[in-house]
């Protein structure tokens, strides 16, 4: 028992280079930034964030608990636009790594409070974004690939180690996201012998990129059934991720499965399939920021040393070509 406890304490006390977390910060920040700029593009700040009497969709001031933003500041179109632009600024600073310690929690606080007026406009993916921002708020995600690092340490990737636990939590978030999604898929459409879930989802006029009626009624129907089975299996397979991480972390322990998994890079294959799955759903369906927000967490699944090795390989291959 004491050994397990020591392992647990030691696990969350580890340190590593800050590049994995920095990549998550940059990618997630970009997704949020683009999404918030869409609100500007469509002139939606007032309908989404102003009270009803000022042109909003929600009677936010009549609710039993008025959110802090609307108690602390004068509610109206000015506040709606002001809060949005501050959030955009915080997202930009998050991407650039400028004042990261302030920018990330500020962005989280604003996204959380701005989600309250019109709950249906706040999707599951917004919750995932906030989960990740909460973890990043307590991390040193600005220690690398940031203006902070450039100003304070004169290097984009300074020689400092940051706590690993935020990266572990973000990795676990991916496991929870996929596994829970798999476990919740108990509708018969997801299960054999039906397997028509993707077919039905793609035909939903709210989500299909085009009207797939004619296209999917042919042999492609069976392709969607196969992909339904793959999706369901792949989501459940996320349960194996912690094992893959442990195997990669302890290659010296040996064992045939561990050695084989590390040699063929099962982890990378899982992430590659995930990337293809998300890109595929993005190309065929209108899912907003979902695919990109989820994939922005992928760097957390890899140790920074592995990412550095991958980077060196890519650069090494590109260099002779250049």
């Amino acid at each position: 028992m004491m050994r397990l406890l020591r392992w647990w304490v030691g696990l969350w006390d580890r340190r590593e280079a800050g590049t994995s977390l920095a990549l998550v910060r940059i990618l997630l920040g970009m997704v949020v930034l683009i999404d918030l700029l869409q609100i500007v593009r469509f002139d939606l700040a007032v309908p989404f964030f102003a009270p009803l009497e000022h042109g909003g969709l929600a009677a936010i001031l009549d609710r039993p608990t008025v959110p802090w933003l609307y108690r602390w500041f004068e509610p109206g179109p000015g506040l709606a636009w002001g809060a949005l632009w501050v959030a955009i600024g915080a997202a930009a600073c998050t991407v650039l790594g400028l004042g990261t310690r302030v920018a990330v929690p500020l962005l989280l606080a604003l996204l959380a409070v701005l989600s309250l007026p019109v709950p249906p406009a706040d999707r599951g993916i917004d919750m995932l974004v906030r989960n990740a921002l909460l973890v990043l708020s307590f991390s040193r995600c600005g220690a690398a690939l940031s203006l902070d690092a450039l100003v304070l340490r004169r290097r984009l990737v300074p020689d400092v180690l940051v706590p690993s636990w935020p990266r572990y939590l973000l990795g676990l978030q991916l496991v929870v996201l996929y596994t829970a999604a798999g476990m919740n898929k108990v509708a018969t459409l997801w299960l054999p012998p039906d397997w028509s879930a993707l077919f039905v989802a793609m035909r939903d006029p709210a989500f299909g990129r085009i009207d797939y009626t004619a296209l999917l009624d042919g042999p492609l129907f069976h392709l969607t059934r196969a992909l339904t089975a793959v999706t369901w299996t792949w989501e459940w397979a996320a349960l194996v991720l912690p094992l893959l991480w442990w195997w990669r972390d302890t290659p010296d322990r040996g064992g045939r499965l561990r050695t084989w998994s590390n040699r063929v890079n099962l982890l990378w294959w899982y992430l590659l399939i995930g990337g293809l799955f998300h890109l595929g759903t993005h190309l065929t369906m209108r899912l907003g920021i979902f695919p990109f927000a989820v994939m922005s967490l992928y760097p957390a699944a890899a140790h920074p040393d592995e990412l550095a090795r991958l980077w060196r390989r890519v650069v090494g291959r590109l260099r002779p070509a250049v």
Partner: protein
């Protein structure tokens, strides 16, 4: 040590929130997809020798749902304020129940001569600006769940008013805006049931006098019409 204990607590709380809690409520059963699932559930149970009816199965599932709520209240209740303040949580379905009775959003406008013009038809047909706006994920979130609802969601009506006012303010020639869903029954290849024609639902027709208070906020006065927001809802 303290950090590892706190992280352990966080992992435990979020891990249990993410479990597939069977939170079934009576209103969930009003959806066509829920009725289909009940029917299939009864058939499956019959096949393993358990005899039940759709109503009995629904009652049993609702009882499980109530029990699930009680357990979650005890387990997660103390952490709810933190989750709410940070807007965080773990409830992931990712199309857990794809809807074979989906809604096709349609927007039409009526000119001064009385002619109706279709401006948007899901998926992706119509005026490019309207298509981009209505397919933006946050806007879509307000309406995409309404196709098979017996009664449209609260924010759907507000969205109709807002969208109607937006169109009426930008286009003086438009007299009325109609927003509706056409209920689409998605049939799989080989489905022997006869095709079901699309059926209009939640039809909202918005004229200038209906949204005079919104138009006034947009700088347009409508004579003899109320100019303050209706006092209702959340």
């Amino acid at each position: 040590m303290l950090r590892s204990l706190l992280i352990g607590l966080v992992v435990l709380v979020h891990g249990t929130i993410a479990l597939p809690w069977p939170d079934l409520k009576p209103r969930d059963l009003q959806y066509g997809v829920a009725q289909d699932e009940l029917k299939r559930g009864v058939t499956l149970l019959e096949q393993v020798g358990i005899h039940t009816t759709k109503d009995e199965l629904a009652d049993d599932l609702l009882a499980v749902g109530r029990g699930s709520k009680r357990v979650q209240k005890v387990l997660h209740g103390p952490f709810r304020p933190i989750l709410r303040a940070t807007g965080t949580g773990q409830s992931w379905g990712l199309f857990a129940y794809p809807d074979p009775y989906a809604g096709r959003l349609i927007v039409r406008t009526q000119d001064a001569d009385g002619a109706w013009t279709e401006r948007y038809r899901a998926p992706g047909q119509g005026d490019p600006d309207m298509v981009a706006l209505l397919q933006y994920r946050r806007v879509r979130g307000i309406y995409d769940d309404n196709g098979d609802r017996p009664k449209a969601g609260f924010f759907y009506d507000r969205m109709c008013d807002w969208l109607g006012a937006r169109i009426l303010a930008a286009e003086p020639d438009v007299q009325q805006v109609e927003i509706r869903f056409d209920l689409v029954t998605i049939r799989k290849p080989g489905d022997r049931r006869p095709a079901v024609p699309e059926e209009p639902r939640h039809v909202r027709t918005i004229s200038r006098s209906d949204v005079a208070w919104r138009l006034r906020l947009l700088g347009q006065d409508v004579p003899d019409a109320p100019t303050v927001a209706p006092p209702v809802g959340p």
